[in-house]
């Protein structure tokens, strides 16, 4: 009986992952298609991989994509975590207001967020008579739509935290800073990590907001891919996705392998 339930749940998870990964499989398969068109299989070829490495635009876009995603995830986690700690200490009404502010960026359609942030930036430039859209504005906008998710990820962990531990640490002579890093931080770390991962994911995937807040010289992969739509997305992008996918999976495998023996010993 127990075994049956076990098999059933494995099967169910398998189905979920099949659903999530089927389109990725298609993507990888298409990266080996000789034809430029998605609709027509004209033979196995590595030509898109060869062309990918000759394309500085794609490499530059990949660089900016990863840089913005990593930086915005980090900054959003710092700001969001502090925000969550503060919110956790608020009175009920204050908390309600803070939570509603948190929900606005989540609720706004991307196009509205993107266009209104662009207007805000351009207005600030004209006010200070300096600056232009570019990497800085792109990063600011990504931190803005990521910070609420980072805060939301940490809040439930704080709720389940026993605040007496922190006070006890203070009573025992710890400075507030070391009390935070020694007592609070380890407890909420999983929430911070989830929030950062989620931020990274949202940042990599965003097109609309990025398009309107970036400027000349700074492109992300999303912007590059969407701009190819009229003329047909170049299969080089499929090749790049396949490589990215492979790298992530290999890294996961290595991390998994290194952790496994430790847990078995325990």
């Amino acid at each position: 009986m127990k075994r049956l339930a076990d098999i059933c749940s494995k099967f169910y998870l398998g189905l979920i992952f099949l659903f999530l990964y089927a389109p990725i499989g298609v993507l990888v398969a298409l990266s080996f298609n000789e034809s430029r068109s998605r609709a027509h299989w004209s033979g196995f070829s590595l030509r898109w991989y060869a062309e990918l490495f000759k394309d500085p635009e794609i490499m530059k876009a990949l660089y900016y994509t990863l840089l913005v995603a990593a930086l915005s995830a980090f900054l959003a986690s710092v700001i969001g975590t502090l925000g969550a700690i503060g919110i956790d200490r608020m009175t009920k009404t204050q908390k309600k207001i803070a939570m509603n502010i948190t929900n606005i960026p989540v609720m706004n359609p991307d196009i509205v967020t993107g266009v209104s942030m662009m207007i805000l930036f351009v207005f600030a430039f004209s006010l200070f008579n300096a600056g232009s859209l570019g990497f800085g504005t792109l990063l600011l906008s990504h931190v803005t739509f990521n910070a609420p998710y980072a805060a939301l990820a940490v809040l439930p962990k704080l709720r389940s935290l026993d605040s007496r531990m922190y006070e006890a640490a203070l009573d025992l002579g710890a400075t507030p800073r070391s009390a935070f890093f020694k007592v609070i931080f380890p407890e909420i770390a999983p929430g911070i990590i989830s929030g950062a991962l989620l931020s990274f994911t949202l940042s990599v995937d965003d097109f609309v907001i990025s398009f309107f807040t970036t400027g000349a010289g700074v492109n992300t992969l999303s912007i590059l891919i969407y701009s190819m739509a009229r003329r047909g997305i170049n299969p080089k992008i499929n090749a790049l996705s396949a490589i990215m996918f492979l790298v992530v999976i290999v890294m996961l495998y290595i991390v998994d392998k290194r952790q496994r023996p430790k847990t078995e010993k325990l």
Binding site: S35, R36, S37, R38, A39, H40, S42, D55, E57, V115, M118, I119, F121, V122, A124, F125, S126, F128, A130, G131, S132, L133, G134, F135, G136, T137, L139, L140, F211, F212, G215, A216, G217, N219, I223, L224, Y226, S227, M228, A229, R230, R231, G232, N234
Partner: protein
């Protein structure tokens, strides 16, 4: 501690906002083009010839580009708007006049492509690529001759038809069939075209943007409203496909090059436009892109398969029956309302 952190944040923010712009604008050129719409090896060639560094960015639609440029805060030197968008940007004072003394290669551009309705004086734009709007069809599914827009309303092809999802393109065949201009600003005519598109809706498999091409290559439908350049490329992938420019007339479109107001490197921009008008360069570019060139010198050098193709190069008769899209100003809101009614219905 808190103050220090805030000060650091403020400094970081202002450093980020001000960006790091190089001081020598004459050695840099910001180009804003459609994705995949330039043989990118030409960028290196231009850089070697002139010593000007190109910063190349891409956009997906005219409207995306327009919204970005009109907000300000971005400094492009050369942009690639389509016909009606050139007109709109001229009207709104968003383009610089081009100094044609710096463009000796402009003489390579065919005369019939100059001074068109969207830029009557020919002062603000130089055409880049062009094509017609017609019907791409699958010969194995359609055995009658395709020569009229009426076939897109033929019930025989129910759920086999693809239409464009952009409203101006979708309205064009309906308006032409009714004998109206594709630039109509008459509410009655628009209403009639709307009713005709509502009647057509059950026959349409999908309103597509750019996937129409792949759909037809994959044999997913019989007929598709398609631009000639895309039709030409699709026919290379799938020999069952053919393209027709209907006899009632249609639309001829242009993508042009222009210089936005406030460009920091106008002479560089003119040099780049001149470079793209060079016969050899235009030849390389049109072969890479597959859309029809406006450059007569390049046209003469084309391989016969392209030069003789009625899809790549429409005959004079066809060209004469076609109109260019013009900017409709505020009347576009009426199109939008009619389009929503079609989709809700």
């Amino acid at each position: 501690m808190k103050l220090r952190m805030m000060a650091i944040m403020a400094i970081a923010a202002s450093a980020l906002l001000s960006g790091c712009q190089g001081s020598d604008d004459s050695k840099r050129l910001y180009v804003y083009n459609w994705g995949e719409y330039l043989d990118e090896s030409l960028i290196g060639e231009f850089e070697r010839q002139t010593g000007i560094k190109i910063i190349y960015e891409t956009f997906a639609t005219n409207e995306d580009m327009y919204t970005k440029i009109s907000a300000g805060g971005s400094n492009y030197d050369v942009i690639f708007p389509s016909d009606y968008m050139v007109e709109k940007m001229i009207k709104e004072g968003m383009l610089e006049k081009i100094d044609f003394s710096g463009l000796p290669n402009f003489e390579n551009v065919g005369d019939r492509f100059k001074n068109l309705g969207y830029d009557p004086g020919g002062e603000y734009s130089v055409p880049y690529m062009y094509g017609t709007l017609g019907i791409l069809y699958n010969k194995t599914m359609v055995d009658e001759p395709v020569d009229s827009w009426d076939i897109l309303w033929d019930e025989k092809y129910a759920r086999q038809i693809f239409m464009y999802d952009s409203m101006r393109d979708a309205f064009a065949p309906a308006l032409i069939r009714l004998g109206y201009s594709i630039n109509t600003t008459d509410l009655e005519e628009l209403e009639e075209a709307k009713r005709s598109l509502i009647a057509q809706k059950p026959l349409v498999q999908a309103y597509v943007g750019d996937m129409g091409r792949d759909k037809m290559i994959g044999g997913e439908g019989a007929l598709s409203l398609t631009y000639s350049g895309d039709a030409y490329l699709s026919m290379l992938e799938n020999p069952d496909l053919d393209y027709a420019a209907p006899k009632e007339g249609g639309n001829v479109w242009f993508d042009a090059m222009a210089i936005p107001k406030g460009a920091r490197n106008k002479t560089g921009a003119e040099a780049f436009i001149n470079f793209l008008c060079d016969g050899e360069v235009a030849l390389k570019n049109t072969i890479y892109i597959g859309y029809s060139t406006v450059n007569m010198k390049a046209f003469e050098e084309l391989p016969e398969s392209m030069r003789e193709s009625p899809v790549y190069w429409p005959s004079d008769d066809v060209y004469e029956t076609c109109d260019v899209f013009l900017d409709l100003g505020d009347f576009i809101k009426e199109y939008d309302r009619a389009w929503t009614e079609i989709l809700v219905g």
